[in-house]
């Protein structure tokens, strides 16, 4: 069996399962945010249920349009806050406690290896990097989980991807996942699970692995799983708020497909508008002038990302005419960046520091693009209108290319500014 099959079977009462079966599973953590929770709450209240299945396993994070960008957004958060209070929700995060949900939950040890996690947010798949089965659903599905602690799942097939060899200079988790999506397309893994392994992945820290799993949905996948190893255990152990299980795929596990990549051929990647699969190696980008650079989000807003960006931007100035936004994904990341002197480096370079928020990633606020403007972001989607006006363009990259590009004012290789 694969890891995905083992986790599903364990959560369905240790039954035998085969891809294609529809099964009922117990859910360890149910998550929603300020945009998706209101619809879940409405469905929950209409159901007549009087309590949530487990108040310590329901998590609400106010992160998308926060700090509340307008009256309607403030009203959405108010409604969730009141529900959380009434039903005694243990994990309600807002204001100075809140960060971008998929950076916050691993950091706090709320999501753990071997878990089955459902979140009313498509990037819930991020937690696959811990060796968990985590998948995004809509608000009504989540309401069902909040009511019963269970969900129905069609057992997916698993596609294995192996990254062999060592990573080239300035190549990280973002480049590997963009390369993969560029290869298989935005529906290349539709309905299936990605299982990602190989020497290059073993060498990556958890931050880079979380970046990889985060974008599994951008290939249409149900989950993107990386087996837990010593690095995972070292990350999880001091944070874990409960017991957890580590699963490995069997040697004779059945895969829908197995594909190997040689990392020596992978350079820093850039996804061009308007699909994450529209990727090019940095050497093939040509001249793309920029109006804005965003470094942050659930994809690349962790301290490791800002260390890379600060190393490149240290002592240099953001190009005239470029707005460079630095958005630490959680208060802890912000504090670490401050303590390590990174915030000073960014401010001296002329970057703008913002609070933990999804903000511009989904065109919410704090860095919206005008018609005709071009932005490079370490975020996960570059659909039409994703960061503002439908006539604007979003390019995606890792933190190294983003930082270098902020300095030059055009999409650039880190090698160009690190001489």
């Amino acid at each position: 069996m694969t890891i995905a099959e083992k986790i599903l079977a364990a959560h369905a009462g240790n039954i035998e399962i085969t891809p294609g079966d529809i099964i009922k599973v117990d859910v360890d953590i149910a998550l929603a945010n300020d945009i998706t929770a209101p619809i879940s709450i409405k469905a929950f209240e209409a159901s007549g249920f009087e309590k949530v299945y487990d108040k310590d396993r329901v998590v609400f994070v106010m992160d998308h349009f926060t700090p509340n960008k307008d009256i309607a957004s403030a009203n959405q958060c108010k409604r969730i806050r009141e529900f959380a209070k009434e039903y005694g929700i243990g994990h309600f995060y807002e204001g100075g406690d809140a960060g971008v949900e998929h950076a916050l939950l691993p950091e706090k040890g709320i999501v753990l290896p071997g878990d089955f996690i459902m979140g009313a947010d498509s990037h819930t798949c991020t937690y696959g990097a811990l060796g968990a089965f985590a998948t995004g659903v809509g608000s009504t599905d989540l309401a069902g989980v909040i009511m019963t602690g269970q969900a129905w799942v069609k057992v997916p097939s698993t596609m294995k991807f192996i990254f062999n060899g060592k990573l080239g200079p300035w190549v990280g988790g973002k480049d590997l996942i963009l390369y993969l999506i560029g290869d298989i397309g935005v529906d290349g893994a539709l309905y299936n699970v990605l299982e990602i392994e190989g020497e290059a992945v073993e060498g990556l820290d958890l931050s880079n692995r979380l970046t990889i799993s985060n974008m599994a949905i951008e290939a249409g996948a149900k989950a993107g799983i990386i087996a837990a190893d010593e690095k995972t255990e070292a990350y999880v152990k001091p944070r874990a708020q409960r017991n957890y299980n580590v699963y490995k795929s069997d040697d004779d596990a059945e895969y829908l497909s197995i594909k190997e990549y040689d990392c020596s051929n992978i350079e820093p990647q850039v996804a061009f508008p308007h699909l994450p699969s529209n990727t090019k190696g940095i050497s093939e980008v040509g001249e793309v002038m920029l109006d804005q650079v965003v470094i942050g989000s659930c994809t690349n807003g962790r301290i490791e990302d800002f260390r890379i960006a600060a190393r490149i931007m240290n002592g240099k100035k953001v190009a005239k005419g470029v707005r460079c936004l630095i958005l630490p994904a959680t208060p802890q990341v912000f504090m670490d960046a401050e303590n390590e002197g990174l915030i000073k480096i960014f401010l001296e370079s002329g970057a703008i520091i913002g609070p933990p928020t999804c903000g511009p990633c989904l065109g919410g606020h704090m860095g919206i693009l005008a018609n005709g403007e071009k932005g490079l972001a370490t975020t996960n989607r570059n659909f039409v209108g994703r960061m503002g006006d439908p006539g604007s363009e979003v390019y995606l990259s890792g933190p190294a290319v983003a930082a270098a590009s902020a300095i030059t004012g055009k999409i650039s290789s880190p090698g160009e500014v690190m001489i």
Binding site: I35, S139, T140, A151, V186, L362, G364, F383
Partner: protein, 164 residues
């Protein structure tokens, strides 16, 4: 149930930001959401769509975000059903939960053009193109999901049975 309507055609990989841009997600009110349905793919769509009209698209319809606002916006704009050669998985689940009928049919997706009049038999999955006279057959809906529809959606299903 039979749906009859005029077709609006969209391409491959229509994402949820095109169906309902995130900038409008500070509300979940269907009446507000429908004003911006498909706006970033076709700015005129909200003003020209008529009750019963049908969306026909290519592969991977509804990719991207998990927002249930997407099927809500389509349903309340009056669209009777969506036909595509494939759907992104979260959109697929959400549509059943929201009561928006969707049909997977590659042949119909390849053959039907903007402005065609078509007729869809939701029970049999048979699609008749009234403009060209051609007929297509959509993939059958899995039995468990038929049960969900018969119960009136996921929440009603749980209420009736006490569990999923």
């Amino acid at each position: 149930m039979i749906f009859t309507g005029t077709v609006y055609r969209f391409g491959d990989d229509v994402d949820t930001d095109a169906i309902i841009p995130a900038r409008y997600l500070n509300t979940s009110d269907p009446q507000e959401l429908k004003k911006h349905c498909m706006e970033d793919a076709d700015p005129d769509f909200p003003s020209k769509v008529r009750p019963g009209d049908i969306i026909v698209a290519g592969k991977n319809f509804g990719c991207g975000s998990s927002r249930e606002h997407a099927p809500i916006a389509i349903k309340f704009s009056g669209v009777s059903c969506v036909i595509a050669s494939s759907f992104a998985r979260i959109f697929f689940r959400n549509s059943f939960n929201m009561g928006l009928p969707i049909f997977e049919c590659e042949e119909a997706s390849n053959d039907i053009d903007e402005g065609h009049k078509i007729e869809v038999d939701a029970d049999s999955g048979v699609i008749n193109n009234l403009t060209t006279g051609r007929q297509y057959k959509a993939k059958p809906i899995p039995p468990f999901m038929q049960e969900l529809i018969a119960d009136g959606g996921l929440i009603e299903h749980i209420r009736k049975r006490g569990s999923i």
